[in-house]
Symmetry: C2
């Protein structure tokens, strides 16, 4: 009997070890079976991404990349969410001008505010970049950082997209959410690097994208510290500090992240320098362009668009063999709410 117990004791230890091995094997099997990008059709763009990730995470590969170097950067407007008929941040500025109008009777006769209050988008467009900056400064400055954060949160809770008639935060791309998740599951650190305002984005995208505030990079206005009798605040000033677009993107990546990304994703010529910077990494890198080709489910635009123009970027992508997503053909769904309908 003692002998049997001894054997069983040994078996128990073995069983305990074997159990662990089996769990590991099951995990690996599940990993192989579960599609990491289920909203993508079986297309080249999807296969290229998976091939890249499997290569650089394989310790046996000559292209293996250490975890701290797995930096992935994503443009936001037109890349993680829609940007038509205008950048979502402009709708915030427009709604905010209307809300603030009672305190500013002078806006009734003063451009670009007059155009906004009269819903005259043609006139607003005529006001050009200078007009836009005036709108941004009137609605994004003159408050504390906490105050602005609350302004954006209040807005996003109610605002609806003018044609899609859903919240702006619902107009994120489901296939890109899956890509962000897939990269993080493979120990990439995912960043947003956008021309949009950094504090506008931080107010509500961290949960949607699963990206913390400190990994959101964007354009900024200047700020000032106020000790405020022991209740310190940071005030937002009506002056541009940094435009995170074109050359600004690699410059900001170097300033804030301090190392070159290995994975870069964008949709416009404004992302081209970020792509070039990533492509110059000595480690194996991946450049991904989103091409807006779906006029039914989203919008179709490229070389002639006033927003998110994609011209030089597309040429360089084709020339250098970067991966280009054809939204219409590559993606099963565009937005998360379409999943429920399926």
């Amino acid at each position: 009997m003692k002998k049997i117990f001894s054997i069983l004791l040994i078996l128990m230890v073995l069983f305990s070890c074997k159990e662990k091995i089996e769990i590991k094997e099951i995990n690996t099997a599940v990993h192989d079976l579960v599609d990491p990008l289920p909203s993508w059709n079986d297309v080249n763009s999807k296969q290229n991404i998976i091939d890249y990730v499997e290569d650089i995470t394989n310790v046996g590969s000559t292209n293996f990349i250490q975890i701290p170097d797995r930096i992935a950067v994503f443009d936001n407007d037109g890349n993680l969410w829609s940007e038509q008929p205008a950048y979502f941040q402009l709708f915030f500025a427009i709604d905010k001008v209307k809300e603030m109008a009672t305190e500013h009777p002078e806006w009734k006769t003063q451009q670009p505010f007059k155009a906004v209050l009269e819903n005259d988008m043609t006139e607003l467009a005529k006001q050009g970049e200078h007009g836009l900056i005036q709108l941004v400064m009137a609605t994004h400055a003159g408050v504390t950082t906490d105050g602005f954060d609350a302004d954006v949160k209040n807005w996003i809770a109610k605002a609806k997209h003018p044609t899609k008639n859903v919240g702006f935060d619902e107009l994120v791309y489901q296939p890109m959410l899956e890509l962000l998740q897939y990269l993080r599951a493979n120990d990439f650190k995912t960043y947003v690097v956008s021309g949009g305002g950094v504090d506008f984005m931080r107010a509500f995208v961290t949960e949607i994208y699963g990206i913390p505030e400190e990994q959101i990079i964007g354009s900024r206005i200047k700020t000032a510290f106020d000790y405020n009798n022991g209740n310190p605040v940071i005030k937002r000033l009506p002056e541009l500090d940094f435009i995170d677009d074109k050359e600004g993107k690699p410059l900001n990546i170097q300033k804030i992240i301090g190392k070159k990304p290995v994975f870069s994703s964008g949709n416009s010529d404004g992302d081209l320098q970020m792509m070039q910077w990533t492509a110059s990494n000595k480690l194996k890198s991946f450049m991904l362009y989103v091409h807006h080709t779906d006029s039914i489910r989203e919008w179709a635009y490229d070389i002639n668009s006033h927003i998110g123009r994609l011209d030089k970027g597309l040429n360089e992508a084709n020339e250098k063999g970067w991966t280009v997503i054809d939204m219409k053909n590559d993606w099963k769904v565009i937005y998360p709410f379409e999943l429920d309908a399926n």
Copy 2:
């Protein structure tokens, strides 16, 4: 016999579960037994830190802080490493001027370079802030980011501190390395927020501190992107971009991290605004000042020092009950190499 096997099978399952529970219990016991801050004497500062960390990581505590909000910020010069008789970065600039002097014969007669080449520190001090900025621009700009990184790495591999006669990278504070590690073990994200140059620090402190490049924040000079015929580089320009000191610290924290820290550590009045900003967090926060009191093992200085002056900060710390480290009495060793001697 079948019955015995059945019972033993049940026992095996129980054993397997119990084993896990036991491992957990052992881990907890080890956690309680192992001193997380072994180079600290049993002093108030140490106990305050441990009490704070145990409180805010306890899910049952009303002060519990979610992991994404566990942001800890550390000044560098005089807080994580020594800063006497001058900031270490100045020694880099001086050595670099001497190295570059053959290409700049005009420096023989031109201040502040003349003073550097003649080792005339009294004259160099007379050149004041303007002189220092000239030294920094001559040695930190006019190269690419990669080139500067290589410059600093080459320097740190050989340079010795003028009086301690060890590498500058050996003059980090062992007790603070333990504190960084202890906070990270409790899911804090640790940041350096220093008046020193961000790219100077990034070139060699990430390994020493266990802090990745993207969690090092500092002063910056301006940069420019150059496509360089398909081999893009970022050039360092001889112009200040941002001084990460005093009000600059909370401003940069908000710009880059985007949320308020809960733990802040510094050693000079230049850290006071960062402390005040952290103290204003609605979550329970911890403010820690290093007071340089050890004239034998390190240096003793505070209100009258030309470097790392601690005056208002010390008053405010005492007034508000922030924790102050008395280096002489609180720390068993100052530098890691003293551990080997023990």
